[in-house]
């Protein structure tokens, strides 16, 4: 067993930013806008680092797919305690069309190359809300998956995962190697401290191209249009209950 954990970290627009749609409706404004690590990826990194602190795994490798700036996201993961990083360079049009299918092919290829035992991803990214990459990666590798994990326990060569589902909590036991996706309540990610940020500068980030991994980035999806949600209309005050019922009937709601 390699004892190696691969953690995927995605660079997204910071959750606190007010998103604006581009005037040509082709997407959202990203220039000059604050970006940071996807919050669910932070939880994934935290879980991986915790496993290493408990000496249940030997090495945590942070992976990000994107342009040059993705390296900042990897550095944050290194400051949180990951040992080394892999930056898969994707830029230009390839980056515009990069989606869960392409990323999962990359993760699967890296998992084989790095002999990973566990892959931990955030359950979804806050920009596209796809919630697909973990599941697709597991399928490509034919590995078991523990998604929406709110609790992870390593038990020999198996993993016990408590999953958040609509009805409550579901507990499953899966074999390793496996893919896990982190849900909100899995842990509280640590803040990067200055000494750790300084140490992270010395950790290695390898550069890899998708072609080196034998991955084709072609996407079969085309974004036609991005729009703001409809503007909220002003409410209306009525004087009596009869007026209210009348208005409800008028609008066909009653």
């Amino acid at each position: 067993m390699s004892g190696r954990v691969l953690v995927g970290v995605k660079r997204v627009i910071d959750y606190a930013v007010k998103i604006r749609v581009k005037p040509d409706n082709t997407g959202v404004v990203t220039d000059g806008v604050k970006h940071s690590m996807n919050p669910f990826c932070e939880i994934a990194v935290e879980e991986a680092v915790k496993l290493k602190e408990k000496k249940l795994v030997k090495e945590v490798v942070a992976v990000s797919c994107g342009p040059q700036q993705s390296q900042e996201t990897i550095r944050t993961a290194l400051a949180m305690g990951a040992d080394r990083g892999i930056h898969v360079e994707v830029s230009g049009n390839d980056y515009e069309t990069l989606g869960p299918l392409q990323v999962s092919k990359i993760m699967a290829a890296l998992a084989k190359k790095e002999d990973a035992q566990i892959i931990i991803l955030g359950k979804q990214a806050i920009d596209d809300d796809c919630n697909q990459t973990g599941q697709m990666t597991a399928a490509l590798l034919d590995w078991p998956q523990g998604t929406f994990a709110s609790e992870v326990t390593l038990d020999g060569d198996k993993i016990k995962v408590v999953r958040e589902i609509d009805g409550g909590l579901e507990t499953i036991k899966i074999n390793t190697p496996a893919v896990l996706t982190a849900d909100l309540r899995l842990n509280t990610p640590r803040y990067a401290t200055l000494p750790n940020i300084m140490k992270a500068k010395k950790k290695k980030i390898a550069n890899v191209k998708p072609a080196d991994l034998g991955v084709n980035l072609t996407s079969k999806l085309e974004v036609l249009r991005v729009e703001d949600p409809p503007q909220r209309q002003a409410g209306m005050k009525v004087e009596t209950v009869e007026d209210l019922v009348g208005k409800l009937k008028e609008s066909g709601k009653v």
Partner: protein, 476 residues
Amino acid sequence: MMDCTCGRRAQKAAVDKVLSAFRTICGKDNVSLGEAIREQHGKDESVHRCRPPDVVVFPRCVEEVSALAKVCHDHNLPIIPFGTGTGLEGGVGAVKGGVCFSLRNMDQILDLHPEDFDVTVEPGVTRKALNAYLRDTGLWFPVDPGADASLCGMAATSASGTNAVRYGTMRENVMNLEVVLSNGTVIHTAGKGRRPRKTSAGYNLTNLFVGSEGTLGIITKTTLRLYGVPEAMVSAVCSFPSVQAAVDSTVQILQTGVPIARIEFLDDVMIDACNKFSSLSYPVTPTLFLEFHGSERSLEEQVSTAEEITQSNEGSDFQWARDAETRNRLWKARHDAWYAAQALRPGCKAYSTDVCVPLSQLPQIIVETKKDLLESRLTGPIAGHVGDGNFHCLMVVDPNDPDELHQVHLFTERLARRALAMDGTCTGEHGVGLGKRALLCEEVGPLAIQVMQGLKDSLDPRNLMNPGKILQRGEL
């Protein structure tokens, strides 16, 4: 009285005249006459009743603030700056009506310099928003009053928090301010863009405006001192047989040079409330909640020194924790104190008193205050930042009982005067606002008040900036 009403009517007419000027400056969507909006901007989280302004404007940049202020100045209209409305002393009440400047649309974080440990923010940025923004840099802004307040508002009230004992209050952590004066002039108190770690250049205008509660100018930018996020934290709890023992421990911990980050005191009434509210089982006796920041190695030393000291002061049940979940559990009582106090009497409102005395006087003032509470038959569990000699009685009072409200008011005055008699202050963190103007006179004396009034007259000759706060005037 007649003059007052005529004056207000004339002022309302003046407001109507300037509305179109306001709309031209900041857009008609950013000028509001709506009753709900005005009421929202006429009160804060204190017990003072709502005093709505005549109109609320929402400027988007300092140029708009300046232009709006000029218009108000030309028409003698009061100007009330508004951040998050989380103040505790009625500071935003428009006692003479006028124009509320709600600054929430100015919400940019500008000019972060991580190597220099400084950042500049606009008034719409709250302390939690700033710390969320900084989370990847390894830096934070530690001043933490209870509310998620506007940082410029915190500068205006010279706010403080639970970790002032280690990181200081706003006074120590504001490096520069951009301020719009009552006539629209824009100044930078330390010079535009300047942020040296120290300076001896001229009068300290920055700290003149810190704590001025909107009475000298509108703060539109503040440059703040940042700190490194602690590498590790340890929290601890310890019970004591008496207030004296708890305070003695505090003093000794500080004297041994332990750089303690938080040291919070809860009295037995408060602990009892917390036990009931959160189903805990702390011993019902004066309790200290401690927090240490530092590297792993320094924490070991800090905690063991503190534990020895508490033991030598008959402290018992010393518990400590390192990981986030257990730390939060240990401190749960302190975190829930506000709600636990209110739960003592459902349906009642809570009002927090706020005095600060030299550390050596703390046991005496707490003992006397508890005696007063008993004799007055008032509910007032005590929580305090003992490292600063600052404590709060959380007065739980029935808002519909005028008699009880009156009793609380008298109690608060007695408490403030007790603190003044012990070389302390009538307000450690919350400010003077509406309710403590008379106490301020007693505290600093008439000659210092005259100097304050002179400064006010010089910067705001028409008394337009947040009238009725901090300083008393004849007609109010």
